[in-house]
């Protein structure tokens, strides 16, 4: 509508420079810098407490950064807050629909918040509801919808004003596998149409579907690249040995190092598991099994996953209980 609300073709969808947020002494977000191009799907992957929620709240303009700057579609929140908000569609992790209103009533209120109204708004609502296959439920109260349907309404709602950038906080929370696949396909379609998709997630397969992934841990952006490039940085294959009681992992890792030296590749012991990163892993597995019979409960060989990338970057398993105390954000 106005030049303020449409991004100039050259500006990145998101530009962040040294974004930090402190809660007292705690650094929930620590010097995050990145740039996301229009039409990209970018996933912020990290454990709970990694800083995802804080970053989401800053980018959605609910929380001011303690330091650093960012722009969405070229708009600076300090000077062009309204224009920034117009170029952003936000999907919250917890429902932001009014359960006592119908699907259509929710969309009409949302439209009004963005100065839409009349026939144009009604047509746009129906268009989105049709696209998300929920037009037949338009008159139902939100409280009777399933979680998957309600999530679709949430996303439809966030797209009403045609934002160039869509920001989603853990969008697949509470969805069954089928609904999760639908969501991934939907986001991919949106990106093809030119919408930039920024999402937070703690699910590797969800991050896998993104064009680029930023790994957030303890408030820091540890790695940022395409899933393929991130995994290529992990050396060759990954061999995982699960030890019997979880206590012998460090000892076993040391013994493997002594016995095979550099041949064993990169060895690490994390949380009861010994990991070896090595090219041609299949040739090494039989030797491990013969050399250390009975010392581990299982051995797996695989191509690196994003989980391996995470472990390499942090030295920790990607588990909630190993994460820093959850940021209450």
């Amino acid at each position: 509508m106005s030049s303020l609300s449409s991004p100039s073709p050259s500006s990145p969808a998101l530009e962040a420079d040294s974004l930090s947020r402190f809660f007292g002494q705690r650094r929930a977000l620590d010097g995050v810098s990145l740039s996301v191009a229009p039409g990209e799907i970018f996933a912020f992957l990290g454990p709970n407490g990694g800083g995802k929620t804080t970053l989401f709240r800053i980018l959605s303009t609910l929380l001011a950064p303690s330091s650093g700057t960012f722009r969405v579609a070229g708009h600076d929140p300090m000077r062009q807050l309204e224009a920034l908000r117009r170029s952003l569609g936000v999907v919250f992790q917890s429902p932001s629909l009014d359960r006592k209103l119908t699907v259509r009533e929710n969309l009409l209120i949302q439209g009004a918040l963005y100065d839409l109204g009349g026939a144009a708004l009604a047509a746009r609502s129906d268009e989105l509801l049709r696209r998300f296959s929920i037009l037949d439920r338009a008159g139902d109260l939100v409280e009777v919808l399933s979680g998957g349907l309600a999530r679709r309404v949430e996303i439809a709602k966030s797209l009403l004003h045609r934002p160039p950038v869509l920001l989603l906080d853990e969008p697949s929370t509470g969805l069954d596998p089928g609904a999760r696949r639908d969501l991934t396909a939907l986001l991919s379609d949106l990106a093809k149409e030119g919408t930039t998709v920024l999402l937070t997630t703690h699910l590797f397969d969800e991050a896998e579907a993104a064009h680029r992934v930023g790994i957030l841990d303890r408030g820091r952006l540890l790695a940022c690249d395409t899933p393929a490039a991130l995994k290529a940085k992990v050396g060759g294959d990954v061999i995982t040995l699960e030890t019997r009681r979880g206590d012998g992992a460090a000892a076993l890792a040391a013994e493997i190092g002594t016995r095979f030296g550099a041949e064993a590749g990169h060895i690490s012991a994390v949380g009861g598991v010994v990991r070896l990163e090595r090219a041609r892993g299949h040739e090494f597995v039989p030797r491990l099994v013969e050399t250390f019979p009975g010392r581990f409960r299982s051995v797996t060989l695989g191509a690196p996953t994003l989980e391996d990338v995470f472990i390499d970057a942090t030295g920790r398993l990607f588990r909630v209980d190993e994460a820093v105390p959850p940021e209450a954000a």
Binding site: T61, S94, A112, A328
Partner: protein, 263 residues
């Protein structure tokens, strides 16, 4: 304004779908009114007022009861702000380009209309109580109720916005809102009270709202503040509270302490 209208309409639609709220807001004050009014009727002789007895007593407590209905309605319509803001509907409103004024005004205007409807409904009892029924009086009473409903809904909004639990709201209701009402001349006249209590009542903005309503309905009491003063204070009360509510919404996005209020 589109945004404010949509938010106000939302309040009305939600109310219409939650009928139990009417009972919650209207029944307790009515019950208290009947019990207290009838119970005290035998010993009731407000200073300088007319005849004693149950009817006089019920008539005395009536304006305060209407104000209590409005207060309860304001509480019911604003308490939802607490949860809505953290993990509900208001999240989406707060990241929208709607102005803080529109956000506050929409919510408060909706709540005000509901308070006005519920409090106004009680005015059908006016003739039974022998209070003034002429159109001017009723129109004045309506205007006073509008101001009071706007002020009290703004107050509820201010409190709810600053809190992160509904339990906190209940505590404030008991410690602050109910005493505010008790010390407004709704429950006992200032004339018989000790000086320290009279001072508190004179400083209580709600005293003027109750007095304005009492006078509009033809109630008499020698020590009531004048009608002009009462109306002026009530209007100022509403304006100040609303301005504070809008300022509070505006402060949030980049407020330095927002972190404390995170869900």
């Amino acid at each position: 304004m589109t945004a404010a209208l949509a938010l106000a309409k939302r309040e009305l639609v939600r109310f219409a779908r939650q009928r139990s709220r009417v009972v919650g807001a209207v029944a307790p004050p009515l019950l208290m009114w009947v019990v207290v009014g009838s119970g005290l009727g035998g010993s009731f002789r407000p200073a300088g007022a007319g005849p004693a007895g149950a009817t006089a007593s019920l008539a005395y407590f009536f304006p305060g009861t209407v104000v209590l209905v409005v207060l309860f309605a304001a509480i019911f319509s604003t308490i939802s702000v607490i949860e809505d803001r953290k993990e509900g509907f208001l999240q989406g409103v707060l990241v929208s380009p709607a102005s803080p004024f529109a956000v506050a005004f929409g919510k408060i205007a909706g709540g005000t209309l509901l308070g006005l409807l519920q409090g106004g409904a009680l005015l059908v009892l006016v003739p039974i109580l022998g209070l003034s029924v002429d159109p001017v009086a009723l129109a004045t009473a309506g205007a006073v109720l509008l101001g009071l409903a706007f002020a009290l809904t703004s107050l509820g909004f201010l409190i709810a916005w600053s809190l992160d639990s509904t339990q906190g709201f209940h505590a404030i209701m008991n410690l602050f809102l109910i005493p505010l009402w008790l010390l407004s001349g709704a429950f006992f006249p200032a004339s018989g009270a000790p000086p320290w209590l009279r001072a508190m009542m004179a400083a209580n903005p709600l005293t003027y709202g109750v007095a304005a309503l009492r006078q509009a309905l033809g109630g008499r009491a020698p020590d009531l503040p004048g009608a002009g003063l009462s109306l002026a204070v009530t209007a100022a009360f509403a304006a100040v509270l609303f301005a504070a509510a809008a300022a509070l919404v505006a402060r949030m996005p980049n407020g330095p302490e927002r972190g404390k209020l995170r869900p």
